[in-house]
Structures are given as C-alpha cells and as structure tokens.
Symmetry: C2
Subunit: 279 residues, 2 copies
C-alpha cells in the first residue's frame, strides 16, 4: 500500500552564493557562503510563522515543522503545500480547515535550538507517550561506519560552512544504511525536514539512528523521541537537560563522535562494544 501523499511543490533552491573576501594578508579570496532566506508558513491562509532556512528541502521542512510542533497530527489532514520563493511563502491547505492556531500556539518556549527555537504548546506533557524500543542494539563497528559516511559525504558544510547537518541511518545491527542527509542554517530545520520526509514515507523510527553535527539540547532529545528513534549521535556535546530527558525516555546518547571516538552519556546497554573496532 502506498502511503498517502499531499500535493507538494518542488521548490528546492540554490543554497550557496559566491563571495570575494579579504584575508589577513590583504589578499582577495573567492569563497562560497550558505544562503539564508525567510519562508513564511500560511496555514489555511493564516500566517503561522517565518522560518529562516537555506531552502534545500522547503516542503519537507514545512511538513516536519507542522508535525514536530504538533500543529497537525495526521498527514492525511494536509491537502497540499505550495512553496513560492517569489513571495517567500509556503501555503498549506488542510482538508477540514479547522486548526485553531491561536489555541495551539499560545505557549511559547524559546529553546536552545539553532534554527527553530520556538516550540509551541506544552511539549513536555507528551514525554510519557514516548516508547523507545529497549531491545534494539547496534554494534560499535556500525557506529564507526556512520562517522565515516558523514565524513566523506558531499556537503554544503565542506563548501561553505555555517550549516548544520542531520542524517538518519537504518540500523542493520552490524552495519548501517544512510536514509536521509539534510543540511540547513539551523539544525532544527534539518531535523524537521527529516521528520517531514519520514512522515511522507510512513517511516517509523525504531530501526533508525539519528546523527547531527549540532549539540544535543533538550529540544533535540524531544524531537528524536517524538520520531521514535532510540539513538542520537552528535559530533558535539550535550546539555544536562538533554541528558535528563534522554534518561526519562531511555534514549541512547553518544557525543563527541569523531573517527572511532565517542562518549556514551546514557543508554549504553544498546551498544555492542567490540574491542577490535577501536583499532
């Protein structure tokens, strides 16, 4: 059975710009820098929010935003999303046009997230509904493979810097397969776009591993949990609240993932350590 698909535009746009800069020796250098543009979401013609994005996957970004902010609970409720860069807008049509934006957006929490700081509604009340599979395991060599795939993947970051990457991998126990790789000027745009893509494909998170170049803060753990993904990996670190939340929902957190190095903050029982994978 094919999953339901809303009508979507295909407005992915160019994402870097050339620039001549002057270095410390007074020499001109030609570099690339990432684009950053506003995209205002209109939900049934009502203005919802303006996201600042690189614009590489705008329809998936809007889908994931609506999902992660819990503004829309069922993909089939979304009739269409039309992104138009001329007007810097994303028009979302729902089937029943009965979403009460005022009610849903009345509580604002400004989190530490890059990109999408705002979380509407009371996110924390949802945490009891999150059930991550406890029996899922991954081998150390599969973790090493993730770091290596990210390291060698073509990226905007390597060309232009100033973006965060998020990726999900399918966990095949002793190896992994890259499913999505998304970069954006804010890491929360990247995670939302991945969430939107998963929603479109009807993909659940239990067999996935989430990787990000950005720090793990409370909001990243909440989003990972919402997607049902039991593993969060980062090249960077994590905050105390990210740790506490991941303990509550039993999410495995790995930080400082670089080369073969990593630190397990919580949930080590899901990792099959292999001494031979270190050398």
């Amino acid at each position: 059975m094919n999953p339901y698909r809303p009508q979507l535009s295909h407005a992915a746009s160019a994402v870097t710009h050339p620039l001549d800069v002057i270095d410390e020796c007074g020499r001109t250098q030609s570099i690339e820098i990432p684009g950053e543009r506003p995209l205002t979401i209109y939900l049934d013609k009502k203005e919802l929010v303006t996201l600042m994005t690189i614009g590489g996957a705008p329809e998936a970004l809007v889908l994931g935003y609506l999902r992660n902010q819990r503004l829309v609970n069922d993909l089939e409720e979304i009739d269409s999303i039309q992104v138009d860069w001329e007007t810097e807008s994303a028009a979302v049509k729902t089937k029943h046009k009965n979403i009460d934006i005022e009610e849903l957006t009345s509580k604002r929490t400004v989190t530490t997230g890059c990109g999408q700081g705002t979380v509407f509604g009371d996110f924390m009340t949802q945490i009891d509904n999150i059930n991550l599979p406890s029996e899922v395991k991954v081998t150390q060599s599969a973790l090493n493979q993730i770091v290596e795939i990210i390291r060698t993947h073509p990226s905007i970051y390597k060309r232009a810097g100033s973006v965060h990457a998020c990726a999900v991998f399918r966990n095949k126990h002793d190896h992994v397969e890259l499913v999505y790789f998304i970069e954006d000027v804010g890491r929360h745009n990247a995670v939302d776009a991945i969430s939107g893509m998963m929603w479109l494909e009807g993909m659940s998170g239990g067999e996935l591993i989430f990787y990000t170049t950005g720090r793990l803060t409370s909001e990243m753990v909440i989003k990972g949990g919402q997607m049902g993904i039991p593993f969060l990996m980062t090249r960077s670190g994590a905050t105390q609240m990210a740790l506490e939340l991941s303990q509550k929902i039993n999410l495995t957190i790995l930080t400082r993932c670089s080369g073969k190095h990593f630190l397990v903050y919580q949930g080590a029982q899901r990792i099959i350590f292999q001494p031979t994978a270190v050398v």
Copy 2:
C-alpha cells in the same frame, strides 16, 4: 551621573554538572556537562516566554531579551527583575504596567539563532534607524589580541563544551580591553545578556567590538546593529543574509578568526592592515 538601575536579584547559578560516561574502549570517564534550565519570564504577571539557559547571568539575560525584542524601550520603565530558580521564573515589574504583550508579540519569526530563535515584531523595519560610525577603525594587531584573549580566557566551553561564548571588547585602536564575556547554551542568550549589561551601564556600542564563537546569521547582525556595534567577529562563518544585512547597515564582518587568520566579508575600510601583524 550614575545611570538608573532597576532592582535586580542576584540568582546566577551553578552552570556545569559532573557526569560519568563510557568511551569507545568501554572505560568510564568523568566529565562535566553544561546545565540547561527553563526560565519563564512574567512581565507584570503575564507569562511572556520560556528561555532555556545555562543560568549564569539570568537578570541580564531577561533585561537584554526585553530590550532586543523591543518589548521595553526605556530601562527606567523597568522597576525590578526577580529571578527565582525554585519556580524557574523571572518576575519583571514595570512602572506603568501598560505593555501590550499580545500586540507586541503578534508576529513570530523563527530565526536561525541558537538559544533565542524567536524574534517578536517586525525587526526589519528598524534597520533604517541603525547608524554605525563609519570613521571608527581598528588595527590588525588589536584583532589578533581579541582572538588571543578569547583563546586563553577561562571558560565553561573548555570544561564542559556545548556552549557558545559572546564577548565585547573596547576598541582602543591598536589594542583592546575585554568588557564582558558571557557563555550560554544558546548564543542568543549570550548576546542578550551582554546587551542587558550594556543597557544597565548606559554603554553605547560605537567603541566596541563584538566577538562570538557562533555563526553569524541574520539575527546576530540585527542584534549587533541594534547595540550600535560596528564590528562583528566570529570563529565560525556567516550566512548570505547576514552579509546582506551587514552591507545595508555598513557593519564590518570578520569570520574564521583563529590565531592570526581572519576573513573580512564586508566593511574592510574599518580595518588597518599591518603586514607585520601576520608573522
């Protein structure tokens, strides 16, 4: 003349936590991780927003947030700020209790900023009012000094990672003096706290240089401009929109500041290049 000072609590709190983690060899390591806690701002008893912060300078953070979101235009309008970590709240009392939160917060823009993604109101309309001094200059050796001061400054980052630092320096042409150094889990908290401190001291930005470890996105340039600071430096990069905005307000942008290296994206006329400062 002493500038006006609202009554402020002194609720700066412990900012890192010890944690035992497991590394790739299965060994236990003891590390520190930064705290991250909610702080809900009540403006004349009305709930405004919840910020996620490390909690190192909460009163200045609240002040700078109110200033940078343009919710309060005059420091003297603020009677007191009482931060209470027991209730995770910051109670702001104004003198006239006539600030219309609904009106001021009706437009939401979720920007790429870490920490404080939300910008209330139409920030962009303000840009024409920004006038940065064009005659101010800084020498290359003073820029090198900034990088060196940051490198050797005691920091949460060095102990625990996962925070961004912002700092302002007084520009003495051929050398600099560190004025403020603030770290937080979101770089926008750090810049807002600095803005709050400047507000308290009645300090204008024309003679200052702003440094951040985080990326320069549109919001950082807007905040730098609002504070009247003509120089923004980052260890990281900048986006296309940050560049465009800085061109509009003639703000000097330096990226990739590390050791003696930097790249000038815009506003090079304010820099006095010194070939001897490179070696």
